[in-house]
């Protein structure tokens, strides 16, 4: 690849990333919805399982992780549909920028708009579930590593279900199984820390998952997008 080619990828990535953030800033209410869903979903559990602190503390990590997972999947369903409907997606795929860089930019923007607020909001809801300070720190760190994985996988699901009528539900069915490892190691890290064990192994595996997903998901997303516009 020559210099001009590399430059085109960076330029395309930056242009698309900035555009998605700007679009979200024009629709601030939409941007807050995933965090709202997350809060409501977490708040339902004390009503369902009872308000005993002991019980809540035990299920807190799993509840927060599952809620973050669902909030991400719900918000990612329309990641590409707007661009597909108005012709922007065709322009992106026909630009000198590689589709891999474009899919990465979309996932990165999605994480900044939904993943990052979830990471920041999680400790608040963790306190509500009576989590200990150390567990809160481990939970936040695991979400920091885990939510980008969810955005990347969600982007793939959004591309695969592009143009389908019940795409949202299908996306969840397709992608949730792929997100299970992140859920296990993410929520497992908090469990290990509560049991006084080392969390290093969990975090190493989450980090490895994140690297693997960063390298493979945009590539698969790009292939799915090409099929979708054909």
């Amino acid at each position: 690849m020559n210099d001009a080619g590399e430059h085109a990828h960076e330029l395309g990535f930056a242009a698309l990333f900035a555009r998605d953030l700007r679009l979200a800033s024009r629709r601030r209410i939409d941007a807050l919805l995933p965090l709202g869903f997350f809060g409501v979903a977490v708040s339902l559990f004390p009503f369902g399982v009872g308000p005993e602190p002991q019980m809540l503390r035990q299920i807190a990590a799993g509840v927060l992780w599952v809620s973050a997972l669902l909030a991400t999947m719900l918000s990612v369903a329309t990641l590409y549909s707007g661009d597909h409907a108005d012709g922007s997606l065709e322009q992106m795929l026909l630009s000198p920028c590689s589709p891999f860089a474009l899919a990465s930019a979309k996932a990165a923007a999605h994480w900044c708009l939904t993943g990052a607020p979830l990471v920041l909001g999680a400790p608040l809801f963790g306190v509500m579930m009576d989590m200990a300070p150390l567990s809160l720190a481990v939970l936040t760190a695991s979400l920091l590593l885990g939510t980008p994985i969810l955005s990347l996988l969600g982007g793939l699901g959004a591309a695969l279900t592009l143009g389908l009528r019940s795409g949202g539900v299908l996306l969840i069915l397709l992608i949730l199984p792929l997100a299970v490892p992140a859920l296990i190691f993410g929520a497992g890290a908090v469990g290990a820390s509560d049991a006084g064990l080392s969390v290093e192994g969990h975090f190493s595996l989450l980090g490895a998952l994140l690297l693997f997903t960063t390298l493979t998901a945009p590539w698969a997303t790009a292939a799915a997008l090409r099929i979708a516009v054909e």
Partner: protein
């Protein structure tokens, strides 16, 4: 023409939409400075042929070449192709200038504010440069989408699907002038239109898909 773009060549091209064969055995050659107007009734494959030529779709049979190289593998083609589909690729919530700046950056074209302002002025949209696209009429949106062509300073292959759609008489004359300058510079053009050619349009060749099997 020496400085012009390579030839676009199609050999025995066939296109299928679902089960229906739209056309087959289509040969064409488009050289620098040449414009090709695709005409035909609705559903005859004008848009499909443009999408094949843009590399958005894969032909059912036959092949497309850009200067002798397979089209979908040509790095030069990626830079030189300019596609403007039926959709304008504009974001409703962004302003006219923001939309144009994004498209120009994405395609690696000039996107400094002076160039953008000049392009919008040429398109007759200078007064609405800061307005959200949501507030524009169809014709105005088309003008913004076409303003991208003003930013093209190198000869390339323009693939335009119904470019005259929704434009008023002034807009058609402006686009005709833009196309004429593009062809004179050594670019090439393929466009679909079911309108009778406006009097101001540059002289182009005609491919009538109705006359084919």
């Amino acid at each position: 023409m020496i400085a012009g773009v390579p030839d676009l060549q199609a050999n025995a091209l066939a296109c299928r939409r679902g089960r229906r064969l739209l056309f087959s055995g289509l040969d064409l050659r488009l050289s620098a400075g040449q414009g090709l107007w695709l005409r035909g009734r609705n559903g005859r494959g004008k848009t499909s042929l443009l999408r094949l030529a843009a590399g958005l779709a894969v032909p059912a049979a036959g092949e497309l070449r850009w200067g002798g190289e397979p089209l979908r593998r040509s790095a030069a083609f990626r830079r030189q192709r300019v596609w403007l589909g039926h959709h304008n690729a504009l974001k409703e919530d962004l302003s006219v200038t923001e939309n144009l700046a994004f498209l120009a950056r994405l395609q690696g074209r000039r996107h400094d504010s002076a160039s953008l302002a000049a392009a919008l002025a040429a398109a007759g949209m200078a007064e609405r440069a800061g307005a959200a696209v949501r507030t524009l009429s169809q014709g105005q949106r088309r003008r913004v989408a076409l303003a991208r062509l003003v930013l093209e300073d190198q000869p390339g292959l323009w693939l335009l699907d119904e470019p005259y759609d929704a434009l008023d008489v002034d807009g058609m004359a402006w686009l005709g002038g833009l196309i004429a300058a593009h062809l004179a510079r050594g670019g090439s053009l393929m466009f679909a239109s079911h309108l009778a050619a406006p009097a101001t349009a540059p002289v182009v060749d005609l491919l009538d898909l109705d006359g084919r099997e």
